[in-house]
Amino acid sequence: MPQLPSATRRRRPAPPDTGLGQRLRALWESRSLRLRSRFRRRGLLAFLAVMGPGLIAGIAGNDAGGITTYSVLGADTGLRLLWLFPITMLILAVVQEMAARLGVITGQGLSDLIRDRYGVRWTALAMGVLLVANLANTVAEFAGAGAALEILGVPRWLTVPVVAVAIWALVLFADYRTVEKVFLSVMVVFLAYIASAILAGPDWGAVGHALVTPDLGGLDPTLLLLMVAVVGTTITPYMQFYLQSAVAEKGIDEEELALEQADAVVGSVWTNVIAVFIVVATATTLHAASVRVESAADAAAALGPVAGELSSLLFAVGLFGASVLAATIMPISTAYVICEAFGWESGVGHRFRDAPAFFGLYSFVLFAGALVVLIPGLDPIGLIVGSQNLQGLLLPIVLVFMLLLVNDRALLGRHVNGRWRNGLAIACIGLVVALDVVLLGSAALGWLAVRVG
């Protein structure tokens, strides 16, 4: 028998004969897919498709603790520290952009990368601190949500369980895109602060002037610590962890990098713009009337007599929305971080049985936070301060890791930081770390009582 040439023998069996109709259909489908993807990458629509992780991380940064800090800042010092916000906006944008870039190019979360590159010990430290800080923060968010609705006459024991179950069910049963849309719609709630500031009737010229005029006159320790607290509450580790993991889960690819960078920057700008309006609202009313407040809920309540019931209502609604969103993001970012560190399947878009550890951790942090708030006689301000200190402890570590990672050519290839971007990043991170050391040092010395809260 003649030996067949080897090429012939190895040839694969011919594909089953497909009819003309089928082939035309396949052709049509591939053409329409191409058209659709080209359409997807154009203009505003393309941005709307990518937008999400950065904006959500940004607005989640304006949580109960953030609003408290901004309210206190406005009530205590008026407009004179408003110039801080363009600076925090820049720093936050720089940091969030790095997280977005890492997420898009590597397709991995921050915790993934830290474990990959820096091993078990650093990961364990980051994970442990973030777990405790986020647990404390989640308590603070539920406290904020409860306090906000108490101003409207809804008791805390009703608000907290209903909110907890609702957001638990949303994340568990909805897919990633739906969850994201719901989160984004919370942005509308923040318009309440803009309205509240406008209602207060500030001198907009003075506001504009304060924004661009650094005023360091009469700098005393209390003022310095308040400034540190503003930076600390605006740039928090869970924002970077959430942003990068969400980008990785959403699967945004390299071609859409610019859009995702825009998303991160817009989120950073948005959160600081809202902060400015909060400060303007309380500065114009409470500071002018020399009313001192301890928390955001205090501020909302205090606004009633000074600026009218509507102002008070708007402030409370804003606080409620912000707290609920942050109460969802904290458990999610905790679950992302821990699952990534251990290499377990994670993601909001999975079903429970595909990512049991992720949803288990999410549920644990969420319900633990909600239950603690229901303990009578608990002081949420102490928790907020405690968790801010913990986040502050973690922040320098996270930022230094991020700086190292964005300079890693093996990871990012041509997307590593260029010289000027690195200079900017180092300057921003250096400033944050320096302020952070001040915050931690003062916390350690017990110098600062509950002022920052």
Partner: protein, 422 residues
């Protein structure tokens, strides 16, 4: 010798005269084999990372490395396609299953010495590996022992890893998530070999008798005894029943008198009797290494009836290749190969086509003689007869060559006689 990657990274590297030249930065393995051998060492010196071929390494353990060569060539290391760097490429990496789903991360890598060479055998994915990396494995084990807490150990056999699909981001498995639990008995054995007695009990409890029996058969004799004596006697008896009688007998012979008296009465009568018979022969004789599991049929049967009998008996892979023909008094009359049976006309009496001058050895024949017979006649198994020519057992080729080959080799032979169902 076994150790984990994390125990050697950063250890000092000494030159031939004991002078330190740097630290262990990484180990290089060549993929392709079932368990990739270590082929080189990356050393971090003051100035740079240098590569050393494994042949230059005289001693390597958890205290560090010592080199054999007086001079080292300062080659810049360049990774080849079939090479993996254990620390850089594998440690801490994400493991995904065949469908791309995330499973777990690499906590540590397990290296074992096989035939005097170091090989990568398993990926440690258990909590014990994490604790080791955090530097608290020892303290935790002490606490766990006192409080009776578990120390969860989990390993993924390197065989289940697909190194070709392994990239910078993740390590891919060949199996779906669910397929992971199964460890090959030989690997389970090498893991059990390692564990402290208390931890062993936990592992043993997690697997059924058959798996544990297979694993015990693969262990070193001293460990076999330790493991069995640690078990509760009823379980030990159950496991012995699952082992092949020859291995069980060898093991029982090594047990302490007290343990033997406790375990033997708990075994099923039939198995106990077989073992007791085997125990009567000295260890280095045909009787000592034979098994009493074999297929013997009366000479009156036809080919078809014999095949029917085989179906009823469902013999193990080890013993199915030969069918022995005996008379009413169990004298060995002939032997049939499986092939003879299948190609014969169904109604033909086996007496007509059996090989009627079978090669056999006496029960008291020395082990070397058995090995020679097996080798000379190219047999898969040789029958063993007593003084009167009665068939009492068979010695399979793997047991026969044990004496001639070092035990490490045996493991490497194709698993033709594997007792594990594929």
């Amino acid at each position: 010798m076994q150790f984990y990657l994390s125990q050697v990274i950063g250890r000092p590297v000494l030159d031939r005269h004991g002078e330190p030249i740097g630290k262990v930065a990484d180990l290089i393995v060549a993929i392709g084999d079932r368990y990739p051998p270590v082929t080189g060492l990356v050393v971090k010196t003051d100035r740079r990372r240098i590569f050393l071929p494994w042949a230059d390494v005289a001693r390597f353990d958890t205290s560090g490395a010592q080199l054999a060569t007086p001079t080292i060539e300062i080659d810049k290391f360049r990774q080849r396609d079939n090479e993996l760097l254990l620390f850089a490429d594998l440690q801490d990496k994400q493991i995904v299953d065949i469908d791309g789903r995330k499973v777990v991360r690499v906590n540590d890598l397990r290296l074992d010495e096989i035939e005097g060479k170091l090989h990568l055998v398993a990926v440690d994915v258990g909590a014990a590996g994490l604790l080791r990396r955090l530097g608290v494995e020892g303290p935790y084990r002490t606490i766990a022992r006192n409080l009776r807490l578990p120390v969860p150990e989990r390993y993924i056999d390197w065989e289940d890893v697909d190194p070709v699909e392994t990239s910078i981001a993740s390590i891919r498995l060949r199996v779906p998530h669910e397929g992971l639990r199964e460890l090959h008995p030989a690997d389970l054995a090498s893991i059990i070999d390692q564990l402290a007695p208390r931890d062993r009990a936990g592992i043993m409890a997690a697997f059924d008798d058959e798996v544990v029996a297979d694993a015990i058969e693969e262990m070193e004799p001293e460990t076999q005894v330790e493991v069995l004596e640690d078990l509760e006697p009823g379980r030990a008896a159950d496991i012995l029943e699952e082992m092949s009688p020859d291995d069980a007998a060898d093991l029982i012979a090594d047990l302490s008198d007290a343990a033997r008296d406790e375990i033997l009465p708990l075994m099923e009568r039939e198995e106990a009797q077989e073992v007791a018979e085997l125990l009567g022969y000295p260890e280095d004789t045909a009787g000592g290494i034979m098994t009493t599991e074999f297929v013997a049929v009366p000479e009156e049967l036809t080919a078809d009836q014999t095949i029917g009998r085989l179906r009823e008996l469902e013999p193990d892979a080890e013993t199915i290749y030969y069918v022995y023909v005996v008379d009413a008094a169990e004298h060995l009359r002939g032997v049939l190969s499986l092939r003879d049976l299948i190609v014969a006309a169904p109604d033909r009496p086996i007496r007509e086509f059996m090989y009627d001058e079978p090669v056999a050895v006496e029960v008291m024949a020395g082990q070397d003689e058995v090995a020679q017979v097996v080798a000379r006649y190219n047999l898969l198994a040789v029958p063993v007869v007593d003084g009167e020519g009665r068939l009492v057992g068979i010695v399979t080729v793997d047991d026969a060559i044990d004496t001639v080959l070092p035990s490490g080799w045996k493991r490497r032979l194709p698993r033709l006689f594997s007792r594990v169902a594929p």
